[in-house]
């Protein structure tokens, strides 16, 4: 028997942590943010190392899919599968990053971003 093999960081088998699944249960934009409630954090203790780590990151501060990917060093596609599972299982709340469609809504968002930038 070989040494225990940690698939993380191995570019050839990045999907080992999802047991080979590559299709997320739902599409999640790269900038969509995720939040874990304290209750969800407790539940995530039993969801495995990777999911628990994600829940810990999202409990203290809302984190985007991109941030979770970067902070756990899992490729984006892998993170999307894990996070979509966690959303489906109620371990994470997905906050919408869906582009606003109406003129007034889009203008309102742009105005808020503009004012946020000016305050930097």
């Amino acid at each position: 028997m070989g040494q225990p093999h940690d698939p993380r960081g191995n570019l050839v088998r990045p999907y080992a942590v999802t047991r080979g699944r590559t299709e997320p249960r739902r599409e999640i934009p790269i900038e969509a943010v995720l939040v874990a409630s304290q209750d969800a954090l407790q539940e995530a203790r039993f969801a495995g190392h990777d999911k628990y780590r994600i829940a810990v990151l999202c409990e203290s501060k809302a984190q985007s899919l991109a941030e979770l990917s970067a902070r756990t060093r899992h490729p984006l596609g892998v993170m999307r599968v894990l996070v979509a599972d966690m959303v489906a299982d109620g371990l994470l709340a997905l906050h919408s990053a869906v582009p606003k469609t109406g003129f007034a809504e889009r203008m309102d968002l742009l105005e808020r971003v503009l004012s946020g930038l000016r305050k930097l």
């Binding site: 570019l11 999907y15 590559t22 985007s64 991109a66 906050h95 968002l109 503009l114 930038l117």
Partner: protein
């Protein structure tokens, strides 16, 4: 429920909106420097794995030992309010990964194409890309020390930048300069939105 967790659970959770602005440009043009100048976090790097054919890997069984590559994207974050976060995403330096650009620009507020006047030809591919996309963008000339200074009109002509695309000067290392560039991106996005609406900006005050 103890008092502490009651406190935490007290306010109903707010829907958080995240917006993004894309920073495009050739390899080494200063995208990560620009992001780092205004980001509240050290720029992070996220990777996507794909086959060398330039397509996303959607089936792990099809991932061969050779022929996979990772595309890295640097990004930063500005928390503007407890319900609003702006992300700044740098495009992958290699322009052959267009599909990754497609994912990055989906839903974006707008984009800035960063141009290094020492290697102006590197800007052709990114500019071509945005010319054919429905996303407001501007061109930001990154003013490196010692870089040749061109008049904006010269650059506009050299790169065949359409008249409706704003051209701004920028120093990617300087927070205020980057801030102004991003303000220009959002203002341009607003102008574009208003123009699409076929109306005129509502008078203020």
């Amino acid at each position: 429920m103890d008092f502490a967790s009651y406190e935490r659970a007290g306010a109903p959770p707010k829907e958080i909106t995240s917006a993004k602005i894309v920073i495009a440009g050739g390899f080494g043009v200063g995208k990560t420097t620009l992001v780092g100048a205004v980001s509240e976090i050290e720029p992070l790097t996220t990777e996507a794995v794909m086959t060398s054919a330039g397509q996303g890997v959607d089936d792990a069984s099809k991932v061969p030992d050779k022929g996979t590559t990772t595309v890295a994207m640097d990004f930063g974050r500005i928390t503007m309010a407890d319900d609003l976060i702006l992300y700044l995403f740098g495009t992958p330096g290699q322009t052959r990964f267009w599909f990754m650009w497609d994912e990055l620009i989906r839903g974006a507020v707008g984009a800035a194409v960063l141009v290094d006047t020492r290697r102006i030809a590197d800007a052709f591919a990114p500019l071509d890309y945005f010319e054919n996309r429905h996303l407001p963008y501007l061109v930001a000339l990154n003013c490196f020390d010692g870089a040749p200074r061109y008049e904006p009109d010269e650059v506009r002509e050299a790169l065949a930048i359409p008249a409706h695309v704003p051209l701004v000067m920028c120093d990617a290392r300087v927070r205020d300069s980057v801030k102004q560039t991003l303000v220009s991106v959002v203002e341009h996005a607003m102008d574009t939105l208003v123009a699409e609406q076929g109306g005129y900006p509502a008078p203020v005050g």
